[in-house]
């Protein structure tokens, strides 16, 4: 072995091919998501042609008035909300898994969704009547504060020595039970009107989507995704283990805290508007990891897109599974996600996670 070796292009070429393959997969997933969005808009009680729907989306003035109103006021908000919420939950899940070095971490399993939903419920039962105008923001804010409290708890536990993957998940489950119990108390004291809203939260539903809510969820994505992207190399380095990440010059403690707070923000805004939706944050990143690996430059966008696609497909299923009945999406994701979760627990002992 010598210090200098002849240079040919083979492994660089293979690496560049791999990257091109990853970009193709991203593009394909993006196109599928767009198709799913259109089908989602086209699905519903009134049967309209796909052509009418597309025309109503692209140039609402030329489409029949009734269709344009239904598309823009009802269906498009729901369909877009599905996409935005899917992105939020899957990005949050992807980064939580990365920083906690734990394949079972996502807003739902760590109890952050439950915390956020408790915060939202608190706002509804106790506070909103005081500021009716600011109700949406106040609900989000409360959800956010509770999600932060939960994630700080998790952060503190993750800093203890010798905390295993399983312990973290058990801790999350404990948080979930705790916040569900407090939610139960709220439901007990709530008025009939707010009770109905609380039930909506615990099941997870897209039916209350509106443009202003989409705006807030999008704003959370616009704030956090650039932070994740900017920290991309450092986040990938974290997957080499704490010690090696620090040797590579990563301020591990600070990165972990920043990213955990950002992920909680994403989870909190999603939960505040659509209630608890489980497992998207688990399944999205898992599929992304199988397709493109864990290099954050592709892993993060792939997780976000997979989450969006899954959520959009779920939205379609929720309308078509029982014709004429709109099922809460949270129920569907839970039914699909649970077996997946169990298989992941059984597998995680030997796989990618050391």
């Amino acid at each position: 072995m010598t210090v200098t070796a002849p240079t040919t292009d083979t492994s660089i070429d293979k690496y560049l091919q791999r990257r091109r393959r990853h970009y193709w997969l991203l593009a394909i997933t993006a196109v599928l998501t767009l198709c799913s969005l259109i089908v989602d808009v086209a699905t519903g009680p009134g049967q309209y042609g796909l052509g009418d729907i597309v025309r109503a989306i692209v140039s609402p003035d030329d489409a029949p008035r009734a269709i344009a109103v239904i598309v823009w006021e009802i269906r498009l908000p729901v369909a877009l909300m599905a996409i935005m919420v899917g992105m939020s939950l899957a990005s949050a899940g992807a980064e939580m898994q990365t920083i906690l070095n734990n394949p079972l971490a996502d807003p739902f399993t760590l109890g952050i969704s439950a915390a956020a939903s408790f915060g939202a419920a608190l706002a509804i039962v106790l506070g909103v009547s005081l500021f009716p105008a600011a109700s949406e923001l106040l609900t989000t804010l409360n959800a956010f504060v509770m999600a932060m409290v939960a994630s700080l708890l998790i952060w503190l536990v993750s800093r203890l020595r010798g905390v295993s993957v399983q312990t973290m998940v058990l801790m999350g489950i404990a948080l979930m039970f705790f916040f569900n119990a407090t939610l139960g108390i709220l439901q007990y004291v709530a008025s009939a009107e707010s009770l109905q809203q609380l039930v909506f939260w615990s099941l997870g539903s897209l039916s209350r989507a509106s443009w202003s809510k989409i705006g807030i969820v999008t704003a959370a994505l616009v704030v956090t995704l650039p932070i994740f992207f900017f920290a991309g190399w450092r986040l990938t380095a974290l997957r080499m283990g704490d010690l090696q990440a620090r040797a590579l010059g990563v301020n591990v403690g600070r990165l972990r805290l920043t990213v955990l707070l950002c992920s909680s923000l994403l989870a909190a805004t999603a939960v505040a508007f659509v209630g608890i939706i489980g497992f998207i944050g688990l399944v999205g990143p898992h599929i992304a990891r199988m397709l493109v690996g864990e290099d954050q430059r592709v892993f993060l966008p792939m997780s976000a897109l997979t989450g969006a696609l899954l959520m959009s497909l779920t939205s379609i299923v929720s309308k078509t599974l029982i014709p004429g009945v709109l099922l809460p999406v949270g129920i569907i994701t839970a039914l699909i996600g649970l077996p997946f979760f169990v298989s992941l627990i059984l597998k995680s002992r030997r796989e990618v996670w050391g």
Partner: protein, 268 residues
């Protein structure tokens, strides 16, 4: 032009892991071997030099105190290769090595890729470039970790038992190459290693640590590795030979304490 350590101490809570370590120096262009029994504090010492473990005392590189640098700057100068390489991240070998380079070097992309490829070729890892880290054997993963260290082109390299999982062929190959690398790049390389024959053969300078985080001896291998000292620090009876024209030989003969015989120190 060297790395110097004076009055370095490390505490974990109330326990003192490194106890006023002084008089250590490592020069560029040669290998410095760090030896000592389990738990002596070798890893702790290397980590504190790299700034990964919090310590008190003076560590200087070319007469610049290292604690004036922030984490990223320090990591650009010094790299610590951890003792246990366990990551099974879903990254290809190429991606993992590129990652190690890109976390400090912000140079032109093409040049980084060339550097990665070159490093993989030199360590005979190019055939695994496409494999995921989880699909490698322990020894292969350790060589990838060495590639990650070298591809950063640091001025100072702290290698914590980098050959512990390698077969004899790769141990010799890697150590020979590290000697050449230190010489050609004028790099400061400190290597913690348990095989005393190999340590004596490939290093020019040695730091011997004993129990309680103390330095027992510093100097050329011939001065440090004596039979009395091995008995004292390692509790072994050993035969040390420096044959003319052949590699030095440290032959361990017997442990001076047997397991299950506590309190009855055996003297040979």
């Amino acid at each position: 032009m060297s790395l110097k350590i004076e009055s370095l101490s490390v505490h974990f809570g109330r326990t003192r892991i490194l106890n006023d370590v002084s008089g250590l120096e490592a020069r560029p262009g040669e290998l410095t071997a760090l030896i000592g029994p389990n738990g002596a504090g070798k890893s702790t010492l290397l980590k504190s030099i790299a700034g990964i473990e919090r310590s008190t005392g003076h560590i200087s590189l070319d007469d610049t105190a290292l604690d004036t640098l922030d984490i990223a700057q320090r990591a650009g100068q010094i790299y610590y290769l951890p003792q246990d390489i366990t990551s099974r991240a879903a990254l290809s070998v190429f991606e993992a090595v590129l990652l190690a380079r890109r976390t400090t070097h912000k140079t032109d992309r093409r040049q980084d890729l060339k550097r990665v490829q070159h490093t993989l070729q030199t360590l005979e890892l190019e055939q695994y470039a496409e494999r995921d880290l989880g699909q490698l054997s322990g020894g292969q993963r350790q060589r990838v970790a060495i590639a990650q260290a070298v591809v950063r082109e640091p001025r100072v390299l702290m290698l914590d038992e980098p050959t512990s999982a390698l077969d004899l062929h790769h141990q010799l190959q890697v150590l020979e190459w590290l000697v050449a690398l230190a010489r050609e790049q004028q790099m400061i390389i400190v290597i913690a290693i348990h095989d005393l024959s190999l340590a004596a053969r490939f290093s020019r300078h040695m730091w011997l640590m004993g129990a309680g985080g103390k330095v027992c001896a510093v100097g050329a291998p011939e001065q440090v590795l004596t039979e009395e000292r091995l008995r004292e620090v390692y509790a072994i009876r050993a035969h040390v030979e420096w044959p003319e024209g052949e590699p030095p030989r440290v032959t361990p003969l017997a442990a001076t304490r047997q397991l299950g015989m506590q309190g009855r120190e055996q003297d040979f």
